[in-house]
Assembly symmetry: C2
Homo-oligomer: 349 residues x 2
């Protein structure tokens, strides 16, 4: 039985026998070959999807959170805190609950869909809305963790990226090799940095080659493509709507060292990719997750990808996190009388 | 790498080498020990949660659907159909997409929250609303499948229960034994029947003992407790709001043969259990899923469960399926000025 990424990759993580492992059985997510999707967007490419939405709280954040919370517990913390309106708060609240700790979540006031906070609220986190923007919330979180016995679990907590790197290990273990190209969405840029660290560690041990790291930002939130922060980032892919990535430097190193790149994909391309993933593979991902898939199409059309190339796309989150987007973008139900002929007029056999 | 329940339990399933396996890597869901939850609801009991919401589409339905869709594909079907407003339609649509088939979903008109259909719509199913109730929709589905080359994948499809029985195998394999008691929600009564079949098959092979099967219906939708169908079933646990279970006979046999029982739990008890599971274990389940946990508490308070008993509770679905319920029932966020003192007045350190 799989018992989580700390048990599975203990030798690669900063834990000892004294570390109390707080796990919800994160990791070991499916790696699914997607030949019909490849036929449509990158013919001849061997395309695999790493389904990170299969995690306990529905996103890749659980990989880092199991480590951050376990280490917090080891250090004696009883409370953890983060500023987040989305996947981080869900993961922090879940692992805090699993570890018998209290989670505090600070969010900026206004325009926050409660749906994004449903998980954190369900797991029993205390959610505090502060009259200010996200930066004001994060500043308060930093001040609190400097002065009081509460552990910060935003991605500036170094254990977060350490845990996230295990996704790279898993891909190599599942595939028996590293891909030629690894494609993924880039928001705060922590994940691409963590993957590169993971591939690098396996590479040093002779366990895999080094893939080219290909990151994709939404066109309206593409600071790394433009080479400058974006003041008012805008995109349907809310999970990567970030104008000034915290891990910009690390991500740039990943791209430079791997001879990869950071590119922009439009919201329209993201929405199309999102729909194609669901209808051609049966995997329902978050809009932001589809940025990497839109990227594969772009790389194929630009002639970067060649026939026979092995490409892995990370789908970072579960589509159920943003069910409204699915409803808004899918075909609406048709209503007919409860008669066989009426039904047959719509369904073609 | 886990490749799904058909590969894992091939010897126990009606498949051959000629069966094309359509899988999204269902099965192998976490079995998590929950000592802090047990302390609160059933002190002294060894309590485990089987987290079926970890499935690709977020519910246990995926176990049966992989088999139903694979067998449909083997028989040459290119379209499948079901009448469902919830988890069945999501699962059918996902596996149809994975298998390159078209899914049709018939739903009754009126009062259907589109949120429940977000997944089916995202996966590209054609959703048809018929002017009539659920029975009218199911009747049309039956008529269509009798006359046209389209495969019915509602639970009257026998492959559905065959696939679902693998959950019992997994529990025995993960635990190294069968539990003394197996507790789970009962709606259409297919799942309890499938589990009993699974435990029975393993028992015959000497691989486990036979647990007592304990089913729990919502008090407002408890036909098997009353011994008569309920005309207008009502409960917050929508996934088990069923007044006349399709698998009543099979479920009664499961309970009789295992010396178990079917009991009622109130909506209030379900809501309390739902909250306790999330806050004490970090597992976010559907309201209906918590019926079995509410049942454990009842069995403990009634003296049925003894210290040292081993109990497994199946949590049938993912809480993200009904995020609105979480928001309605959780504490609301508190708003404060963006000042340290204001934050500290709410968060106690």
């Amino acid at each position: 039985m799989w018992t989580g990424i700390i048990d599975a990759y203990r030798a690669y993580l900063p834990v000892t026998d004294a570390t109390p492992v707080v796990s919800l059985r994160e990791g070991n997510t499916p790696l699914i070959e997607a030949p019909r999707l490849a036929d449509k967007i990158a013919p001849g490419v061997r395309l695999y999807l790493k389904v990170e939405g299969a995690h306990p709280t529905g996103s890749f954040k659980d990989r880092g959170m199991t480590l951050a919370i376990s280490k917090a517990k080891e250090a004696g913390a009883t409370t953890v805190i983060c500023a987040s309106t989305g996947n981080t708060s869900a993961s922090a609240a879940a692992y805090a609950a699993a570890g018998g700790m209290q989670a505090y979540v600070l969010i900026p006031e206004g325009n926050i869909a409660l749906g994004k906070l449903a998980q954190a609220m369900a797991y029993g986190a205390t959610v505090l809305q502060v009259r200010g923007n996200f930066d004001a919330a994060l500043t308060l979180v930093r001040q609190l963790t400097e002065r009081y016995p509460v552990t910060l679990v935003n991605s500036i907590n170094p254990y977060r990226l350490e845990g996230q790197k295990t996704a790279a290990f898993e891909i190599c273990d599942q595939l028996g090799r590293a891909p030629d190209y690894h494609c993924l969405p880039v928001g705060n840029a922590g994940n691409i940095s963590a993957y590169w660290q993971g591939f690098g560690e396996y590479h040093k041990l002779g366990k895999c080659t080094a893939p080219k790291m290909m990151g994709f930002q939404a066109a309206g939130a593409a600071p790394m493509v433009h080479g400058a922060p974006v003041l008012s980032p805008e995109t349907i892919a809310t999970a990567i709507r970030i104008g000034n990535p915290a891990n910009w430097g690390l991500a740039q190193t990943a791209v430079d060292e791997s001879k990869g790149g950071i590119y922009a994909v439009s919201d329209d391309e993201i929405a199309k990719a999102y729909r194609m993933v669901a209808t051609l593979t049966g995997v329902f991902c978050e809009p932001a997750s589809a940025a990497g898939v839109a990227g594969v199409r772009q790389l194929s059309e630009n002639g970067v990808l060649k026939r026979g190339d092995c490409v892995v796309c990370t789908l970072t989150g579960n589509g159920l996190k943003d069910a409204d987007f699915a409803i808004r973008t899918a075909a609406k139900p048709v209503t007919v009388p409860a008669q066989l002929e009426a039904v047959l007029s719509v369904l073609k056999f």
